[in-house]
Amino acid sequence: MRPPAALALVFLACASLARAAPDLSADALLRDHLWREVRTAAPDRRPKVGLVLSAGSLRGVAHVGVIRVLEDAEFPIDVVAGTSMGAVVGSFYAGGVPMAKMWSIAKGLRVDSGNNLSARRLISLLLFDRLLSSANAERMIRRTLGSRTFAQLLKPFACVSMDIYTGEAIIFRDGDVATAVRASMNLPGIFEPLEYRHRFLTDGGVVDYIPIDAARLLGAQWTLASVTETDFTAARPKSVLDALEQVIDIRGSYLSREQRKQADFLIEPPVGRIGMFDSQRIPEALDKGVITAARRLPAAEESLILASIPLLEPGWAADPRLFR
């Protein structure tokens, strides 16, 4: 039975309820007006903006979703810093890899992407007590970025690793990008330390989960940190790998509590319940990055605007005809 006209009218009335008018409130218009000023301001008339990408293993693909939203909004990003998966994503972004390609690479990641983390090799690790090599990780990064140095990237970039013998955080800002990023994501207990520049390097997430200090070293004056931390209270480790993951997650969580306070703005995609190696939930992590960043974007714009006003004001005061 076809719905009669009355039903159709009720139906259409329901459909039209969702139609929204443009937001012409004072807050929305003032934010939009000032955001235009900030986006188009000369570099010395706004703070230098640093994008900071935390560690988080496969959960860290959420950073790609966050960057997608920031790119769409033309959010000004001057420097990039990352640890572990944050270093991988950050290096791609700083290297100008198109978003479509980054998204595609992220969706295609597997537990053994760019490494030797197959079941056979894990068994070999346990039986023969020999750590695996992360050389494939470096090859994966080179396939995307080539053999570029830090100086050849489109934006200044830094990534963090740890010297496993001294416990120091080692911040890379120059030299070969692929090697440095490999060092940053070199998971301890699974991959052998990478000997590079007289250091024995492992994942930087153990000592610098959210590398805000690295961004400040690059000159960042206002930092936006994308943090993909775990909810370790939900985990019930049953295997050697699970237990190792849990220990790393707990360490990262305690470390990030203090580091969070140093960021000017936080975007925290709720990926805490996605396992460190849970590649099946990568699409979910990507989507959560987009959703969280989209929701937080107006507040991020407001925060940067407020930080920019002291630098914009002299220009406004100097010549009323100069607004760009």
Binding site: A6, A26, L306
Partner: protein, 328 residues
């Protein structure tokens, strides 16, 4: 008469008959019990519809009529402003008739209205499995994608909805808003042109066109569209936009004039105060700070305009700024 001949005769007699009459020898005509209730709904007697579609009545309905009955019960509850009860009817209907596109879309629309988009998304997608051109499902997905931040997907869904029904001005406007958010002002202008062809008196379309022109750095064009929106009865928001955009256009004196008009209509309006303060800033930072004083608040929970005013006041009252303006 042989079997074949009898069959041929029956076919010849019954084939031209209306579909509703086909089952006449076997029972009432399809949809017949609901006709009087449909009439009640058409007259807006929604409470009577619910009374008529009682549990006892529903028990005796054929499947297709039962499906339509749940739909009518849900719609009647919605019309009576009882969305929770409506949702219950749609959910029950979907559990019994999982392939009913109408029930799926109605349930999804309610969930979407309540911002339960994860659940609404699944239902809209299911509806499209059974009816891949369903306009309302595409529109629902467009709105969800837009709300969640998937602007590219939203554009695709709006396009599919507009393929099915290109005569809804509101959908063209929504499509334009998403295109503007994706920094595609030319495409947004096209969509708004279509919207205005259908509804030339839409002030919202002119406002959006103003944003599209401004995005292309055509501030005179943008201001003209704001004036057009104002002539069509748009509210004080258009005045606000014009006040601020005159600053962008390098016309602070005109911005101050508009600000006074705005403040006469909306005393204390933040956009008006901001424009006056900006106009005063070059010659008298202390005067600018005084203008912003009623608005300013550094409280992190304060509205953005209050916090921006506080930041500008603080900058304007910096000792070096005040000294520079007061020194001979």
């Amino acid at each position: 008469m042989s079997h074949c001949a009898a069959l041929a005769l029956a076919t010849a007699l019954l084939a031209p008959a209306p579909a509703a009459a086909w089952w006449w020898p076997l029972g009432p005509a399809y949809g017949h019990p609901l006709k009087p209730i449909v009439a009640l709904e058409g007259e807006g007697h929604f409470a009577a519809v619910l009374d008529a579609l009682s549990p006892a009545f529903l028990q005796n309905l054929r499947p297709n009529d039962l499906r339509d009955a749940y739909l009518m019960r849900g719609e009647s509850f919605e019309a009576l402003n009882r969305p929770d009860a409506a949702l219950g009817e749609y959910q029950l209907g979907v559990s019994l008739f999982p392939k009913s596109v109408a029930l799926l879309v109605h349930e999804a629309s309610l969930l979407h209205r309540d911002e339960l988009d994860e659940h609404a998304l699944v239902l809209f997608q299911r509806a499209l499995v059974y009816d891949r051109k369903n306009w309302r499902a595409h529109l629902g997905l467009a709105e969800i994608d837009r709300r969640l931040g998937f602007l590219d997907r939203a554009v695709t869904q709006y396009s599919l909805a507009l393929e099915e029904d290109p005569y809804d001005a509101g959908v063209w406007r929504d499509d334009a808003e998403v295109l503007l958010a994706r920094r595609e002002p030319e495409a947004a202008e096209y969509a708004l042109g279509r919207a205005l062809d259908i509804d030339p008196k839409s002030s919202d379309a002119h406002v959006l066109l103003a944003f599209a022109r401004r995005a292309q750095d055509d501030l005179p064009g943008a201001l003209a569209e704001l004036d057009a929106a104002a002539r069509l009865g748009a509210g004080v928001g258009v005045l606000r936009a014009k006040t601020l955009w005159l600053i962008e256009a390098g016309r602070p004196a005109d911005a101050a004039v508009e600000a006074r008009v705005l403040l006469a209509k909306a005393p204390g309006d933040p956009a008006g105060l901001w424009a006056l303060a900006r106009a005063a800033l070059p010659s008298s930072p202390s005067r600018a700070a005084e203008i912003l004083a009623p608005l300013a608040s550094a409280d992190p929970e304060a509205p953005f305009s209050a916090r921006a005013a506080a930041a500008l006041r603080k900058a304007a009252l910096r000792p070096d700024r005040v000294a520079a303006k007061t020194s001979p």
